[in-house]
Amino acid sequence: MNLRVVDNKATHTPHKRNPGYPLDLDWVERVRMNRSALERRAGSIGARRTVKKDYQLAWLLKAITLIDLTTLNSDDTEGRVERLCAKARHPLRQDILDRLDVGNLRILPGAVCVYHPFVKTAVNALEGTGIPVAAVSTAFPHGLAPIETKLKEIEYSVADGAKEIDIVIERGMVLRGDWQALYDQVKAFRKACGDAHIKTILGTGELATQTNIAKASLVCMLAGADFIKTSTGKEKVNANLVTSLTMIRMIRWFAEETGIEIGYKPAGGIAHTKDALNYMALMKEELGTHWLQPHLFRFGASSLLTDIERQLEHGLTGHYSADYRQPMV
C-alpha cells in the first residue's frame, strides 16, 4: 500500500555553488522565529516519522555517508588522526557489509575533519579514497584572532590540501547586531577558501535566541557560505533539533529566493542512531529527500559511527552488540 499522498519529486539538477549575494538588511530584519512553535515541530518529528527494519538499515548506511568524522581535541596527534582516517576508509566491518549485501554502495563518511596541523596527515592517510579533508579554521573554536591571522590560517589549510574549511564566526558580531561586519568577514573567508567549500560555524549555543541564529544563518549565506553549521562542539549547548529547524528553514527560504541550495551541518552531541534518524527525518520533511546527500547535509560527529555500527549489527543479528566489538573510531 502506498502510504504517501505524494511521491518525492527527485530533482537531480547539478549542484550550483553559492555565488554570494549583497547584504540585504531588509531581509535580515524580516526574519521571524517563534521559539515555542519551533520546539513543538522539532519535538514531534521523532514521533511523526520513524523508519523500521530494512528501511532503518538503509537510512543508517546513508547516515554514515553524511558523517564528518571528526577529531578536534587539544591532545590530537598524527597517530590519532591516522587512526581516524583508517576508520574512515573502513567505516563498517566487512562482515556487516557482506551480510547487508551492499558492497557495491559507496559507504564512506562525508569528510574527515581535523585541526590545521593534521590536514596533511589526513590528506595522505585518505589518499585514493575520495574522502575530502575538512579543516576547522579561523581561530576555532572562539574565532577571536586578528582577521589577517584567520585568513592566513585558511590559506595554509587549503594549501595543505583541505577541500572544506569550517570557519567560526565571531559571536559578538551577532549579539551586537553588526551584520555588516559579519558579512564582510565571512565574505573575506569565502574568498580565501577559493575552491574549497566553506562551512560557517555559528556557535548557536552562544547566540542567545532563535532569531539571532536565523539572522546569522542568513547573513552567512548571503556572504557565500556553502554550508551553515551549528556548533564547534565546545559550546555549552551543541546542536539540537530546534536550532536545526531554525537554520534549515532559513536554508529553505534562501533557496526559495535565490535558487541556491545551502548545506546544513549539525555538530556536537549527536551520538545516537535515533538522533541521526530524527535529523534526517527533519531534513527530509522540511527540505526534501534531495537534501539528504553529502553535499547538502553532514553530521559533525565521531562516536555516532560506532552507535550506527552497533545498530546495524543488531538489525542483522537480532541481538545487541557492544561498542568494543566495533573497530574504534
Binding site: 502510504l3 538499515l57 527530509k284
Partner: protein
C-alpha cells in the same frame, strides 16, 4: 539491486506498524460482543450493531444498542450510588480518580491502539495526545475532588449526570465528562458515540478493576435513540453533551423547563489568523496541527484560514508545498499524519459539501498521489476563491478541508473571524505581542491560541461562545459546571401575584397628570411602536399611571441600541464601577420619591426596597473590577490567561414583584460585567424602572447600555428569546413561560437563566455575589506561549 540498496537511494520511510495484537486479545476476551456496564456489572448483550475499523472496514466487535430499559436501569443504579458516593470525603473520591489515572497510564498503549482501530486516528495522536490528556484529566480532577469543599463552599453536586459524547476523541471526551462529574460527587450514565464505543467499554473495565463503587459510572452504548432516552429521562439532573450544534439544539429544546443542568460543547468553524509579522513557516506547521489533526474531525479545528493580503501569495504557495508531504494512510502506522475518517457516511458528507462549495465557485487544491484502495480516507484539501457566503466557509465540514481567505487590516481580520454563528476557538499568529493581545479579546471564542494551536489541558477551561455551546470543561469553570448552589434545592414556588381588577373607570382618566412614562431606548425616551399604552394599577386597582405597550419592534429597536452600545464591554471596569456607584448615589438622593412610587404600585413599604437597591448597586459596582480571571500554568512554557468576558447583549425580564429591586438586582451584575441590557421591568409595576431612566441619564450611563421596554413580560420575553442578536436571556416568571423561553432560545443557543416559577427572593444577600456574576460572564482562555 537489493532492497536495502534501493531504499538507500530513495530514502522512503517504509511501513512502521504498531501491533494490534493486545487490543485484539482484549476484544477476544470479550468474545467481541459487549453488553452495557450498569451497576458495576456487564449486562448480557442485547440487540447489537457492529463497530468497524474505518481504516479497513472490518468489524471489530458487536455493540449493544441501548434501550429505554437499559437507560432506566443505568439511571436507577446511578441514583442509588449517588448518596454514598457524594457522601464520601473529597479525599476518598480523589483517590478513586487517582487510581483511574494510574490504571490508564499503565494500559496506555492498549487504550491508544484500541482507539486508533476503532476511530481511525493516527496512532501517533492517540498515543501522544489523546491518552496522555486522559490520564492528565483524571489526575487533575483527583485534586479538585479533595479541594472541593474549600474551593466551592456552598455547592453541591447535581446528582445523576447523563453524558453523551462524540466519536472524534472517544476516550478523551469521556474523561472530560466523567472526571469532573465524579470529582464533584455526581454519578454518571454515559453514552459513547455509536461509531466508537470500545475505549469507553475498556474504561468501564478499568473502573471495575480499581474497585470504583458500583453504579457510580454506568456506560450504556447505543445510537441516537439511546441518547434521547438519556436526555429525556426524568431522573437525570444534568445533561452534558458534546457533538453537533444541530443535536445540541434538540437537547436544549428537550430539556427546556425541566430544570436539568445543561452544558453543551458543540460545533465550530474556528478562524486561524496569520498576520504579516508572523513566523510564517511555523504558522503553516501550526495549520497541520489545526486542520489535519485527527483528519480535521475536531470541533475546534482551525478550519478558516485568514491570512493578511501582503503575505497571502507566499503563504498559500508554502502551504501547498507543506500539504504535499503529509502522509495519509494506515492509522496504525507510526509515520502517518492523516488516518481514516470515522465512517463512510462522514466521507460522503464531506464530499457532498465539497461539491457544493465548488459549484458555488470554490477552487480546491489536493496534493497528487494515491489514497489507500479501501478505508475511509480523504486527501488534505485547501479551498480558495471563497467568500464568507460559500457553504464551505459557513458550514462546519468536520474533515481535512481548509478554507482560505485574506484580510487587509486587523479590524477586518476580527470582522471576518467573527463572521460566523460559531465561537469555539481561534488562532492568532503574530510576533507582535501588542497586536496579538489586541486581537484576542475581540474574537468571540472560548479559546484563543496565540502562536500555537490545539493546545489542551485539564487546568484550562475549554468551551464555546455563541452557537458553539455553553459551559466549560477543564479548570475551575469546568468543575463549576458539575456543581450547583446548595440552596437551590430548597426553593419554593413563587407566590402567584394576585391580579388586581381595575376599578371600573374611564381608562383615559389617569389619576395623575403626567404619568405617560415612555420606554427608554438608545439613551432616548421612546414612544411605543404600537401607539398603545398599558394602565398601571395600584394595589387596590386604582389607575396610577400608564406605560407604553411594547411590542416586537420596540424589542428590535432596543436590541439594535444595545448592540450599538457594546463598547461598554471594553470600558474600564473601574469606569463601569464609577457609573454604577454614581447611579446608586443618585437613586439614594431621590429615595423618598422612589419609595413612594413603590408604595403606590404595591402597597408595600418602599423605603426598604430602595435602600436594598442602592446597596445592591454598590455591591456590583464593587464587583466590577474584582470578579476577574486567572492565569493558569499548563504543562507547556506558556501562560493561559482565563479572561472573564461579558456575554454581550442580555435580555432581562424582571419578576413581577419588587418593582425596583427586582430589576436592579438583575441588571446590576449584568452591567458590572460589561453587558448591555434590554430590560423588561415588572409588567405589573413598571413605573419604578421608567422613573429610573431619568436617574440613569444623570448618572453618565452611556446611551444604549440599558434599554427599557415596558409591556407584557411573556410576550416580550418570547421576542427576546428568539432574537439572534440577544446573547443571553434572564427570565423571572412562571414555569410555563420559563419553558417557553428556554425552548425559544435555541435559534442562537443563547444562554438562559429562568426562575421556573420558583421563589428566587432577590432581596436575599446571596444574590449580591457570584451567582449572577457567573451567569453574566463567560470565560475565554487565551494561550500565550513564550520564549525568546
Amino acid at each position: 539491486m537489493n532492497k536495502i540498496a534501493q531504499i538507500f537511494q530513495s530514502l522512503d520511510y517504509g511501513p512502521a506498524p504498531e501491533g494490534p495484537e493486545q487490543a485484539n486479545a482484549w476484544l477476544d476476551s470479550h468474545s467481541r460482543k459487549f453488553g452495557h456496564f450498569i451497576d458495576g456489572v456487564w449486562t448480557k448483550p442485547g440487540k447489537t450493531f457492529s463497530s468497524d475499523n474505518p481504516a479497513n472496514g472490518e468489524s471489530l466487535a458487536q455493540i449493544s444498542d441501548g434501550t429505554a430499559e437499559d437507560v432506566n436501569a443505568a439511571v436507577k443504579a446511578a441514583r442509588a450510588a449517588f448518596k454514598p458516593w457524594s457522601a464520601l470525603s473529597g479525599y476518598e473520591r480523589g483517590k478513586y480518580l487517582y487510581a483511574i489515572a494510574r490504571a490508564i497510564q499503565k494500559h496506555s498503549r492498549l487504550f491508544a491502539v484500541l482507539e486508533t482501530m476503532d476511530n481511525g486516528k493516527p496512532i501517533r495522536e492517540s498515543r501522544d495526545v489523546d491518552i496522555p490528556l486522559v490520564a492528565r484529566h483524571f489526575y487533575h480532577h483527583a485534586g479538585w475532588a479533595q479541594h472541593l469543599a474549600r474551593e466551592f463552599p456552598d455547592a453541591v453536586p447535581y446528582g445523576v449526570c447523563g453524558q453523551i459524547i462524540p466519536w472524534n476523541f472517544p476516550l478523551l471526551m469521556l474523561a472530560w465528562k466523567i472526571a469532573p462529574a465524579l470529582a464533584a460527587g455526581n454519578t454518571v450514565v454515559l453514552k459513547p458515540a455509536e461509531f466508537t464505543s470500545l475505549t469507553a467499554l475498556l474504561f468501564a473495565e478499568i473502573c471495575e478493576r480499581v474497585g470504583l463503587p458500583r453504579g457510580v459510572v454506568n456506560i450504556v452504548t447505543g445510537e441516537g435513540d439511546t441518547g434521547a432516552a438519556i436526555v429525556n429521562h426524568p431522573d437525570i439532573d444534568k445533561i452534558a453533551f458534546t457533538g453537533s450544534t444541530e443535536v445540541g439544539k434538540i437537547i436544549r429544546a428537550a430539556t427546556a423547563g425541566t430544570g436539568k443542568g445543561l452544558s453543551l460543547e458543540l460545533g465550530g468553524k474556528s478562524p486561524y489568523l496569520v498576520f504579516e509579522d508572523a513566523d510564517i513557516d511555523s504558522a503553516i506547521e501550526g495549520l497541520v496541527d489545526a486542520i489535519w489533526f485527527n483528519q480535521g474531525q475536531v470541533c475546534c479545528a482551525g478550519s478558516r484560514l485568514l491570512v493578511q493580503e501582503s503575505i497571502e501569495e507566499r503563504f498559500i504557495t508554502k502551504l501547498k508545498t507543506r500539504m504535499a508531504s503529509l502522509r495519509v494512510g494506515d492509522p496504525l502506522d507510526k509515520s502517518i499524519d492523516i488516518g481514516a475518517l470515522v465512517a463512510p457516511v462522514q466521507v460522503e458528507r464531506i464530499r457532498d459539501l465539497m461539491k457544493k462549495g465548488v459549484a458555488e465557485g470554490a477552487e480546491v487544491y489536493e496534493p497528487d498521489g494515491q489514497l489507500p484502495a479501501r478505508g475511509c480516507f480523504l486527501k488534505p484539501a485547501l479551498v480558495t476563491k471563497v467568500s464568507p457566503a460559500n457553504t464551505l466557509v459557513a458550514e462546519e465540514v468536520f474533515g481535512p478541508v481548509l478554507v482560505a481567505m485574506s484580510f487587509r487590516t486587523p479590524e477586518e481580520a476580527v470582522a471576518l473571524a467573527n463572521n460566523t454563528k460559531y465561537g469555539l476557538a481561534a488562532t492568532i499568529w503574530s510576533e507582535n505581542i501588542n497586536l496579538a493581545l489586541d486581537i484576542a479579546p475581540k474574537i468571540k471564542a472560548g479559546v484563543v491560541w496565540i502562536n500555537g494551536t490545539n493546545n489542551f489541558d485539564a487546568a484550562v477551561g475549554f468551551g464555546g461562545y455563541k452557537e458553539s455551546g455553553f459551559g466549560r470543561e477543564g479548570g475551575r469553570e469546568g468543575m463549576s459546571s458539575y456543581l450547583k448552589p446548595a440552596w437551590e434545592k430548597d426553593l419554593k414556588p413563587a407566590p402567584v401575584a394576585k391580579a388586581v381588577a381595575a376599578k371600573p373607570a374611564n381608562p383615559l382618566d389617569a389619576s395623575h397628570l403626567d404619568q405617560t412614562a415612555k420606554m427608554y431606548i438608545g439613551g432616548k425616551q421612546a414612544r411605543p411602536d404600537s401607539g398603545y399604552s398599558r394602565p398601571v394599577l395600584g394595589p387596590k386597582g386604582d389607575l396610577i399611571g400608564e406605560v407604553g405597550d411594547g411590542n416586537r419592534k420596540d424589542i428590535r429597536n432596543a436590541v439594535e441600541a444595545a448592540r450599538a452600545a457594546l463598547g461598554w464591554s471594553t470600558t474600564a471596569a473601574h469606569s463601569r464601577a464609577q457609573i454604577l456607584y454614581f447611579l446608586a448615589e443618585n437613586l439614594d438622593y431621590r429615595r423618598d420619591e422612589f419609595a413612594a412610587r413603590i408604595k403606590a404600585q404595591t402597597g408595600e413599604d418602599g423605603a426598604k426596597e430602595v435602600a436594598l437597591s442602592v446597596e445592591r448597586l454598590f455591591a456590583f459596582a464593587g464587583w466590577a473590577d474584582k470578579y476577574d480571571g486567572a492565569v493558569h500554568n499548563p504543562p507547556l512554557r506558556a501562560v493561559a490567561a482565563a479572561m472573564v468576558e461579558p456575554l454581550g447583549v442580555m435580555g432581562i425580564v424582571a419578576p413581577a414583584a419588587l418593582p425596583l429591586l427586582g430589576s436592579v438586582a438583575l441588571i446590576a451584575p449584568a452591567l458590572a460585567m460589561g453587558n448591555t441590557v434590554v430590560l423588561v421591568p415588572s409588567s405589573q409595576s413598571p413605573l419604578s424602572m421608567t422613573d429610573l431612566y431619568q436617574v440613569m441619564e444623570t448618572s453618565d450611563v452611556p446611551a444604549g447600555v440599558v434599554n427599557i421596554v415596558t409591556g407584557d413580560s411573556v410576550a416580550l420575553a418570547k421576542t427576546l428569546a428568539e432574537h439572534d442578536g440577544v446573547d443571553a436571556l434572564w427570565f423571572a416568571g412562571s414555569a410555563d413561560a420559563s419553558t417557553m423561553v428556554e425552548k425559544a432560545s435555541i435559534t442562537n443557543l443563547k444562554q438562559t437563566w429562568t426562575s421556573r416559577g420558583l421563589n428566587y427572593d432577590l432581596s436575599d444577600r446571596r444574590f449580591e455575589g457570584d451567582y449572577f456574576l457567573a451567569k453574566a460572564t463567560q470565560v475565554k482562555n487565551v494561550w500565550i506561549p513564550y520564549g525568546a
